[in-house]
């Protein structure tokens, strides 16, 4: 018997290659999107960890010093007086190469004599006594790098290389190469190794090192080493930097994953749709099988088996596609990470077993799950009623009131979940799910309503064919509603994400306009735009102040303070009172906050206050160069510069607690009547000793900030488009099935004199109506999703308050998208049906 069923299954699938193929494509795309996002996230994290591991080597701990680093003499003290065993000094910085597509490398300054226990890849060098080693240690600006890096830079040992380190142009000399192996290739790829002396000279760190790597084998050693550390120093575990990075990216990654899941949900609608159709189309066949003794369990097994096959094939194709898609996504994602978080260079795809497991679960099991209902339906087919074609439709029509009520309940439940006060992003996304299901359940009732209105309109404009088209949407509601719901969902996602990005963008632009209230902005070239890691010498500030055309300056020093596995971004602000208006306070009395600020209290940015749950009047405990200190919070201000959050304090107060010198940024007010451009040129000339200054006007800075913003959301847009493609495939597949199933009906119409062009018209009008209905549905749902994204998801992910803003263009675009997608999907089935000879259509049954 099972042989019979298998053959029956196969015959059906082979006779409907389009339907079969499109379903698999839908599954494949859904899986591909989810998996590729996973791969991209995982690859960037892995790349970062690899480079961290390459830097950390076998160290178990690190000694970090004050904001300036650790003086050389402290290391010597540990080595020569205390005889501390396995320790090694490290300087870390970044190098960018102007002629190499602005590629960024990590500069690692080490003392090779202390390296033996730490970074074993250093043994793999071709450095020889006659040249390399001597040059490495004694020739200024000597570096060694991996063979692969050399290859990519088209350089050889002995060549020179123009680079920028900390905003200064330098010429490096390549004194040797590191030989990589399979294990460390990607880790070494972006590494420039240099002697600690060279690193100090290149980075201008004076007599300071960044940190000391340590290998500790027991708690006793740890404690005795801790006892040797001065105030402000810390002994921390080596992995903590990777953990910090993971925390930074957590919200970003979750949001990407969720967007990818949206595509899968759309894909699931598609599978459900296909399986339902396949059951519908085989009602007579199934009825016959049942009447010859096939049990209902065997029927449902047959349907599930088909779903399983499609799920497996779709998943396999999905994985293959994911491999390619992830490479593209990786470019966007790593750029965003570099824009916002930290320097990472991702060149390889990394896949974990978990990703494969998750993708397989989603692809295969979700397909099976979505086939459960159709399979139950198939098994419920009674041999006697199998011949009654309208049975399916009437059963759905009967269920509509119940579906609608269930839908409302689902949506309400989703709303309840969403308003539960929580910081958990997953919970919020989980709350969206019932909203979507509820919405899908309400689709049939909306279709009925739309048809009621459109039917007379269609009749009036398109005559009898119009009415036929309109009625057929309703008549086939069990088949059309899923296609409409899938399309509506995809379009709604576009609307939701579009409104969210639009609101975010306009909020950020308003904020930037208020905040950037000077004429010229100066900073050192920084590799991460939202993390100012390079500083300018303080003399430049003095020189700018003395320019005749300058009316006033603001400046700040940004410091990243590692503390307890976290990184606090501190802004030490030298702001003049005329720029106070640039700060908009969410909490704290604007009349009082500035006086408190002068007295040493701090401002927290909104995301910071949200993340650490702090309010005005509370204290934040910070690790300073003078030990731990409590700072009182004077105000919470709106800020969109960093999702990690910022602590702003007065510059003078900052210098009481931290030694860090230098200036991160300066903003200049130009006297009325003076030319901004000429002042800009004058300032640019102030950069001496190879110090590069980034001098930007208000307009330029605003534009480049918005550019970064747009770049950040590029991934979201790509995902949006992919979701729409899945939905398009869904509606194409539904329409194909629908028209195929109506073959006989249409054949009769043709036999009765309906022209092929009229038939095409009916099909087109029908898809137009479906697209329109989907559009009508998508608008409220899209707005609802936008509200959820803006007020709940974004708030919970990053703590940002945004001004909700609906652009009419987004809504119009959505409607056009939905109608256009439907029409496009209707062309082929319409064409095919109109070409079918009525005799064939009738004979086939």
């Amino acid at each position: 018997m099972s042989n019979l069923l298998t053959r029956s299954s196969l015959r059906y699938l082979f006779n409907h290659p389009w339907q079969f193929g499109l379903s698999i494509l839908g599954i494949a795309l859904g899986v591909a999107i989810v998996v590729s996002i996973d791969i991209a996230n995982y690859s960037s994290a892995t790349a970062f960890n690899l480079s961290m591991n390459a830097v950390a080597g076998k160290s178990t701990h690190q000694i970090t010093g004050t904001s300036e680093g650790i003086p050389d003499s402290f290391y010597t003290y540990l080595k020569t007086v205390k005889g501390t065993g396995k320790i090694a000094p490290v300087i870390e910085s970044y190098i960018s190469i102007p002629d190499s597509n602005k590629r960024v490398f990590k500069l690692l300054g080490v003392d090779i004599f202390a390296e033996r226990p730490f970074r074993d890849y250093l043994s793999q060098t071709d450095i020889s006594i006659d040249g390399g080693l001597k040059n490495f240690l004694t020739k200024p600006n000597s570096v060694i790098l991996s063979e692969e890096s050399l290859g990519k830079l088209k350089k050889y040992s002995g060549d020179t290389l123009n680079v920028i380190v900390n905003g200064k142009q330098k010429i490096l000399y390549i004194s040797g190469t590191l030989k990589e192996n399979e294990q460390n290739r990607s880790a070494l790829e972006n590494l420039f190794i240099t002697d600690i002396a060279t690193a100090q000279e290149l980075t201008g760190k004076g007599n300071q090192i960044d940190y000391i790597d340590v290998i500790i084998s027991n708690d006793g050693e740890e404690q005795s080493l801790k006892n040797l550390l001065p105030e402000g120093y810390q002994l921390q575990k080596s992995g903590s930097r990777s953990e910090t990075a993971e925390q930074m990216l957590e919200a970003f990654n979750i949001n990407l994953t969720s967007l990818s899941l949206l595509a899968l949900i759309v894909g699931l609608f598609l599978i459900y749709n296909t399986m339902t159709f396949s059951v519908l189309q085989r009602r007579v066949l199934i009825g016959t099988l049942r009447s010859i003794g096939v049990t209902s369990n065997e029927i449902s097994g047959m349907i599930l088996r088909e779903a399983l096959i499609m799920g497996i094939i779709g998943t396999l194709i999905g994985f293959t596609a994911a491999f390619f898609i992830s490479k593209i996504l990786l470019i966007f994602i790593s750029r965003t990470i570099n824009d916002l978080y930290y320097v990472v260079s991702v060149r390889e795809i990394h896949i974990s077993p978990l990703i494969i497991l998750k993708g397989t679960m989603l692809g295969v099991f979700a397909t099976l799950l979505s086939a459960v209902y159709p399979s139950r339906e198939a098994s419920g087919i009674h041999p006697r009623t199998a011949m009654i074609r309208s049975e399916q439709e009437s059963s759905l029509i009967r269920r509509i009131p119940r579906m609608t009520v269930t839908g409302i309940i689902f949506m309400a439940a989703g709303a309840v979940i969403l308003v539960i006060p929580s910081h958990n992003i997953w919970l919020s996304y989980f709350g969206i799910l019932p909203v979507i299901i509820g919405f899908a359940l309400m689709t049939p009732v909306i279709i009925i309503l739309v048809e009621k209105i459109s039917s007379p309109v269609y009749k009036k404009f398109f005559g009898i064919t119009g009415k036929m088209a309109s009625r057929s949407v309703l008549q086939n509601i069990s088949r059309t509603y899923i296609a409409i719901a899938a399309l509506a969902l995809a379009v709604a996602a576009t609307v939701g994400v579009g409104i969210m990005i639009g609101s975010f963008r306009s909020t950020v632009i308003n904020w930037l306009e208020a905040r950037l209230n000077a004429d010229i902005f100066i900073s050192a070239p920084s590799l991460i735009s939202r993390r100012n890691d390079a500083v300018l010498p303080e003399e430049i500030l003095q020189k700018i102040k003395t320019l005749d055309e300058v009316n006033g300056v603001n400046f700040y020093r940004e410091l990243i303070q590692p503390q307890d596995g976290k990184e606090y971004h501190i802004i030490a602000s030298g702001i003049s009172s005329k720029s106070y208006s640039g700060f908009q306070f969410k909490e704290g009395d604007p009349g009082e906050v500035w006086e408190k600020f002068d007295n040493g209290e701090v401002f927290l940015s909104e995301p910071f206050a949200y993340r650490y749950d702090l309010g005005v009047g509370e204290f934040i405990n910070l690790k300073t160069d003078k030990g731990m200190h409590d700072f009182k919070v004077a105000g919470i201000y709106y800020d969109y510069a960093s999702d990690q959050g910022l602590i702003t304090m007065k510059y003078d107060q900052f210098r009481k607690y931290w030694n860090a010198g230098g200036i991160s940024g300066i903003s200049v007010f130009v006297k009325e009547g003076s030319s901004i451009d000429s002042v800009k040129d004058k300032i640019r000339e102030l950069g001496t000793d190879g110090q590069q200054l980034v001098v930007r006007t208000y307009r330029f800075l605003l534009d480049s900030s918005v550019e970064i913003f747009d770049r950040t959301f590029l991934v979201a847009k790509v995902l949006q488009i992919l979701s729409v493609i899945v939905a398009f495939i869904g509606i194409l597949s539904s329409l194909m099935s629908l028209q195929l199933e109506r073959k006989r009906e249409l054949g009769i119409l043709r036999a009765n004199g309906l022209l092929p062009s009229q038939l095409f018209k009916i099909v087109t009008l029908q898809t137009l109506l479906m697209g329109f209905t989907a559009g009508i549905l998508a608008l409220p749902l899209g707005n609802a999703l936008a509200v959820i994204l803006v007020y709940i998801i974004n708030k919970r992910s990053f703590g940002w308050t945004m001004q909700f803003q609906v652009l009419p263009s987004i809504l119009i675009e959505a409607m056009i998208l939905s109608i256009f997608a439907a029409l496009l999907a209707g062309i082929y089935p319409g064409y095919k049906m109109s070409k079918t000879s009525p005799a064939n259509a009738l004979r086939e049954e």
Binding site: G83, D111, F113, P117, K134, I196, N207
Partner: protein, 379 residues
């Protein structure tokens, strides 16, 4: 005349801490090429060409104009409970260049230091050794004549107290590893011996293939020695060698066997035998006899008949001589030299055998015994 192969060692600074690298280093680079007067000496280093006047304490300090230099101590010690020990502690200096353009960093340096430290527990038949590298930058290592101090991290040879004996301050040596440590006070009992031709020690063919070389051949030694956490009060005699040069080995020389023997009659013998590539002794082999009063006489190669009485094979397969009969008929001396322990292999960046030896034999027909150190390189 000791390990002049320091330059090669620097290469291995880069290698991991395991023993795996050593084979490649040993076989990959010939000792004589590195030691010899090769293209590498294009740098403007000074050379030991003419006799010089030794000036103390200045010459106890570093000679950065020469490429390599070392402060070398060996000694045989006995604990208060009559256990026997040997030790070697050496700090080497090598210059990568004579470039005076040093840059701005405290770390910038062209002087590299290496130290070897070994303890032989003769009674317990155990041998411990360790090696360290550093640079003189950031004061991590260095040498100075006054106050006398040579150090590498916390391994240190330094003046202690105010006593001066035969031109050398009383010094302390401090070194420790995970398993062993020494803390010794050392005082010269005889004046410095200027080796070779008044301190100019020719090692190979050609002018400049020589070093400046002086020794303190008998030094009173007292202090503490720690092995595996167990501390012993020890006393005995040390031997100090000071040598600096720019190039020494000739192309046809493979290595050397070096003997530093302290006899119970308060005399000492130093003898080194340069070995050629074919294993035969080179004409530049030479030695010194030091009398009770510190006066010394040169012994030439022709006067000495060394006979190997046994061999020891290292775990990696090299065969080292292990036991000798050293005859100096012209001086009426015949000594049987036996390693205190077979395995005193310095399995560091460059492998060599350096160990404490026991001496028995006759001198002028009378029985004599003593203790000493032997170094074997290039095997």
């Amino acid at each position: 005349m000791e390990k002049i192969f320091i330059i090669i060692l620097i290469i291995t600074v880069f290698s991991g801490c395991g023993d795996t690298k050593k084979e490649t280093v040993d076989s990959g680079i010939s000792l004589s090429k590195t030691m010899g007067n090769t293209e590498n000496s294009g740098e403007d280093f000074e050379k030991a060409i003419e006799r010089k006047k030794f000036v103390f304490p200045a010459d106890h300090g570093p000679h950065p104009g020469f490429r390599t230099e070392w402060w070398y101590f060996t000694g045989n010690l006995t604990s208060s409970d009559n256990k026997k020990f040997g030790y070697q502690f050496t700090i080497f200096r090598t210059a990568l260049s004579r470039d005076t353009n040093k840059g701005t960093s405290e770390w910038r340096s062209d002087q590299i230091y290496m130290a070897h430290f070994a303890v032989t527990d003769i009674t317990g038949e155990r041998f411990y050794f360790d090696e360290r590298f550093s640079r003189d930058g950031n004061k991590l290592a260095g040498a100075q004549a006054s106050p006398f101090r040579v150090w590498l991290e916390n391994w240190e040879i330094s003046k202690t107290g105010s006593g001066v004996s035969f031109g050398l301050p009383v010094i302390s040596i401090n070194a420790e590893t995970e398993k062993t440590g020494i803390n010794l006070i050392i005082e010269a009992l005889k004046p410095a011996v200027l080796q070779g031709d008044s301190g100019l020690s020719q090692k190979g063919k050609g002018a400049g293939n020589a070093s400046y070389y002086y020794s303190y051949t008998r030094m009173k030694t007292e202090g503490k020695l720690i092995i595996e956490g167990k501390e012993s009060e020890v006393s005995g005699f040390s031997w100090m060698d000071r040598e600096w040069s720019t190039s020494a080995l000739g192309e046809d020389q493979k290595g050397w066997d070096w003997f530093a023997l302290q006899l119970d009659d308060n005399t000492e013998i130093m003898y080194y035998q340069m070995r050629k590539n074919d294993g035969t002794p080179d004409v530049y082999s030479k030695g010194t006899l030091i009398d009770r009063d510190g006066s010394s006489q040169i012994i030439n190669k022709e006067e000495v008949i060394p006979e190997i009485t046994g061999y020891w094979q290292s775990p990696s397969g090299e065969k080292y001589p292990s036991g000798w009969i050293l005859k100096i008929p012209s001086r009426n001396i015949e000594l049987k030299i036996t390693p205190s322990a077979k395995d005193q292999l310095m399995n560091v960046s460059i492998r060599y055998w350096e160990g404490s030896v026991l001496i028995e034999g006759t001198k002028d027909g009378k029985e004599i015994s003593g203790r000493g150190y032997v170094e074997l390189t290039g095997y």
